[in-house]
Every structure is written in C-alpha cells, then in structure tokens.
C-alpha cells in the first residue's frame, strides 16, 4: 500500500498516489494496473466534505498523528489530489485552494531557520492553528458518525399510531357575539355602498317567531290560526306571534282556509304547483 507513497520521484507522485489510494479504497483488491474509470474517481473525490476532510483522510491513511503532521509530505499529497481534481474538471470548492495556499505557507515558515532569540509568539509552531482546526473538525466528524449510528425515528424506531378516522372532528369554536356583530356591521356597510339594497328591520322577536311558526307548519295540513298565537309569554307573546303570522302572510308563505262557515280560521304553508 505504501510503496507508491514512498516513490522518491516527485514527478510520479500523482500517479503513485492514485495507485495507493485505489488500493486502499473500497474499490480495492483490484490489480494495481487496472484502468480506473474517471467516474469512479469522481465519486471518490466528491465524497470529501471539504479540505479538512481530505487532509484528515491523508493523515489517517498513513496512521499519522494529527498533532505531528509532516507538513511537507501532506502538502505534496494534498496538491496531488487538487491537481487530479482540476484535471478531471471537478467543480473544486474555493476552500480547497485556500487550504493549498495555507499549507504552502506553513511549509515555507517551517523551512525558515528558527530565530534563536525570538519572542514567545513567533516561536509558536506554524502548524498549530491548522492542527487545532483539524482536531476540532475531527471531533464533529466523529460526532456526526455517532449521530448517524443512533437509532432514529422513522428509520430504526417507529412511533405507534392509530387512525383518527372514526373520531368526530373537533367542533369549530362557538361564535363570539362581538365577532358576529362585527361581521354584520361589515355586511351593512357593504349593503349601504351598493345603496340599492335596503335591509328592513323588524323586531328580532318577530323574525324569530316567523321561523318558529314555519317550523311547525306543514304544507299539507291546516292548523288552527289561533293555535299559533298561544304562547307562554302572555300578551306580548300573542302580539309577536300575530305580527309574525302577518309578516309570513305578506311574504306569501301562508295559505288560509276555513273548513266550515264560521268555523275556525285555518292556516298552512303555501304549496306551489311543483309539489302538488
């Protein structure tokens, strides 16, 4: 596996690296000289989540410790990948190039002779920031793998649920008096705007009584007129009922009759020709 990596010739680094990588990849166990379709490489390269991920891969592949990455070697391998990605015209996120520049910078700083009497901060290992970043990224990469491994709802764990089909729908809220009146004011305003429309205003008790009387009447059975007037509310009730009957009559909803001369006056709902 490492034979290629150790190839001393820098010119061959890229190819050598491929051989190595392919052997180590899930494609593996293939003869080293086998032609590898570019799509496979693309899939492989696209599986990196960014420059940090690629660096981690390069480090882990060689069992190196993040805390002691050999910058020169890692940089060389990293550059080789970038070149192949570019050669394959893979869409290369800008971050990969930024990382390449950073690696180059660290490498050059490490080549500089360390100033012996330098101040504390310039004494800092130039790899430090990168190592921090790699470590930090790796922690979350591992955390993500653990999240993925946890049993998850709808994949490994299933909520037990029964149908609500048989249940009655929750009742809509009751109307609020205020809302109702507000709505009516809106209607009245619009009716006024249309001006041709007038809503007459009988007393509500009369309108309600009209409805109650209609409820009681059948169109095929006369009832005695006076039976409509008896109410529990006494005299005012009789008046309201009487007015209601008059209104209904005016609206053409009632039909009057008298079985016998001098017999009781009878009333029923008017029937039309249609249902006669």
């Amino acid at each position: 596996m490492t034979a290629a990596v150790e190839t001393p010739d820098p010119e061959s680094a890229v190819e050598a690296d491929w051989a190595c990588r392919v052997n180590g990849s899930p494609l593996g166990e293939l003869p080293a000289d086998l032609y590898i379709p570019p799509d496979a490489l693309e899939v492989f390269l696209e599986s990196f989540e960014g420059p940090l991920d690629l660096l981690l891969y390069l480090i882990r592949r060689q069992n190196l410790d993040i805390l002691a990455i050999p910058i020169a070697e890692i940089t060389r391998q990293y550059m080789a990948y970038i070149e192949v990605m570019q050669a394959l015209r893979l869409e290369l996120a800008g971050e990969y190039l930024v990382m390449a520049a950073l690696l180059a910078e660290i490498k050059s700083r490490m080549l500089l002779p360390r100033p012996s009497a330098a101040s504390e901060d310039s004494d800092e290992d130039p790899r430090l920031a990168l190592i921090r970043q790699l470590q930090e990224y790796e922690r979350f990469k591992t955390a993500a793998e653990r999240l993925e491994a946890m049993p998850r709802m709808d994949r490994d764990v299933f909520h037990a649920q029964a149908s609500r089909d048989a249940l009655e729908a929750p009742p809509p809220p009751a109307p609020e008096l205020e809302e109702l009146l507000e709505a009516l004011v809106g209607v009245l305003r619009r009716a006024t705007l249309r001006s041709h429309h007038q809503i007459s205003s009988e007393a509500l008790s009369v309108r309600e009584r009209m409805a109650r009387i209609l409820e009681k009447l059948e169109h095929d059975a006369f009832v005695e007129f006076t039976s409509l007037l008896t109410g529990v509310e006494g005299r005012p009730g009789v008046v309201v009922s009487f007015l209601a009957v008059l209104e209904l009559s005016k609206a053409g909803l009632l039909e009057w009759g008298q079985g016998d001369p001098y017999g009781p006056i009878q009333v029923r709902r008017r029937r039309t020709g249609e249902d006669a």
Partner: protein, 222 residues
C-alpha cells in the same frame, strides 16, 4: 448498546408463529396508512411457514385482543388499520394541543344575516352580502346545528328557508334572539362611506384564518 442487544435478539430469536401476532401489531401501529394483505405478508419475510392464512388467523387473534381496548382493528377497501374507537372522540379532542381554527368572516356574516333576517333563503343571504355563499359554509353551520331548515319558500325552485336554532343561542350565551341588539342600533355604527373601496370594515382582524373561498369572493364586493 441496547440497540445491539435488541438487534441480536431479533436475529437469534426470530418470532415464530406465536410472535406473528406481535409482528403484525408492530407493523400495523407503525404504518400511517392502511396496510394491504401483501404488505403484511411482506413484513413476515424470514418467518417460516407464514402465509396468507396464518396472517389472517393472527389478525383475528389480534382483533380479539383489542376487543375491550380503546382501539379496533378495521379492514377497509385500502387495507388493515388500527383506529381509535369513536366514543373516545371528546377525550382525543380535549388532548390535542392545537386549537381549532377561528370561524371565517364569511361564515360569521352568513350566520348574522340568518339571525337577523330569518326565515331567509340562501339567495336572500347572497343578495344582502353581495357575494355568493359557499356550500361548505352552509353545510358547516347546518352540521354545527346553529342553523336549520324551517321550510321552503314557495317560489320556483322552492329554496330552503333557514333559521337559527336553540343551539345557536346557547353557544352565544343568549336566552332569546331579541337579546341581540336591534338592527337599527347596529346601523348607526356604520359610518357613511368615505371611499368606495372601504369594504375592509372596522374588523380587519376578523378575517384572520379566512378560508380561501372567502378570499375568492372579495373581488365582487361593492
């Protein structure tokens, strides 16, 4: 850890015919849709000697187990499903964190017109509102028993005459209809129109949660 234990458990101790009932229970409760017989048989892949007949028999035992519970196993055209028995409706409703939506403006207007103009036909309501009344709204207020049909107007088509009910008064907290303010008093609240397009009314907030059919009605206002 528990996960691994559980999984191993499945592999080593595959439920036999006795476990079939439990497997079907698991699968039916996990499903969000009714399951067809073939789905149920598919769920038993890997269980020996389980076919159509065995599944049928196990479903029978399962239904029997839930006989005295709050759930029932039902078979509909689309398949098998557990459902909550109807008599628990009120409890389920009370438990649901989400509250039902507000009444739409169109519904409130319709209801108000019926209250003040009863007995009234749908055409008359539409005439007053200046817009059509959707069938859905009429069905809604009839189902809610706020309104009922008290007769038919003897004109061509014999349209239904609507009136409000006792339930309507109860829900409003009124004992009699004439406890509603008289129409004349309400009219005074209606300012003379300043602009022709002031149909928004003072109650803009009431339109919240308005159904889409109501929105569709608005263009015809004025």
């Amino acid at each position: 850890m528990t996960e691994r234990d559980e999984r191993e458990h499945t592999e080593t101790d595959t439920p036999g015919l006795d476990g079939l009932e439990l497997v079907l229970e698991a699968v039916l409760f996990a499903a969000s849709e009714p399951l067809r017989m073939q789905d149920l048989v598919a769920a038993c892949t890997g269980m020996e000697g389980v076919g159509h007949g065995e599944v049928e028999a196990a479903l029978q035992r399962l239904a029997e187990h839930y006989r005295d519970r709050s759930l029932e196993l039902v078979r509909s055209a689309s398949g098998f499903r557990f459902r909550v028995r109807q008599r628990f409706s009120s409890h389920v409703q009370a438990s649901l964190p989400e509250r039902p939506p507000r009444l739409s403006r169109a519904l409130l207007e319709t209801l108000a017109i019926i209250a003040y103009r009863q007995p009234v036909t749908r055409a008359e309501i539409e005439d007053i509102r200046g817009v059509a009344v959707s069938t859905q709204i009429m069905r809604n207020i009839l189902e809610r028993e706020w309104v009922h049909v008290v007769g038919h107007k003897e004109v061509p088509g014999r349209p239904a005459l609507y009136a409000t009910t006792r339930t309507f008064l109860d829900d409003l907290g009124l004992s009699r209809l004439d406890e509603l303010p008289p129409l004349d008093a309400l009219r005074e609240l209606v300012d003379p129109p300043v602009e022709a397009d002031s149909d928004e009314g003072p109650s803009g907030g009431a339109a919240d949660g308005a159904s889409s059919d109501e929105t569709a009605e608005h263009p015809t206002l004025q």
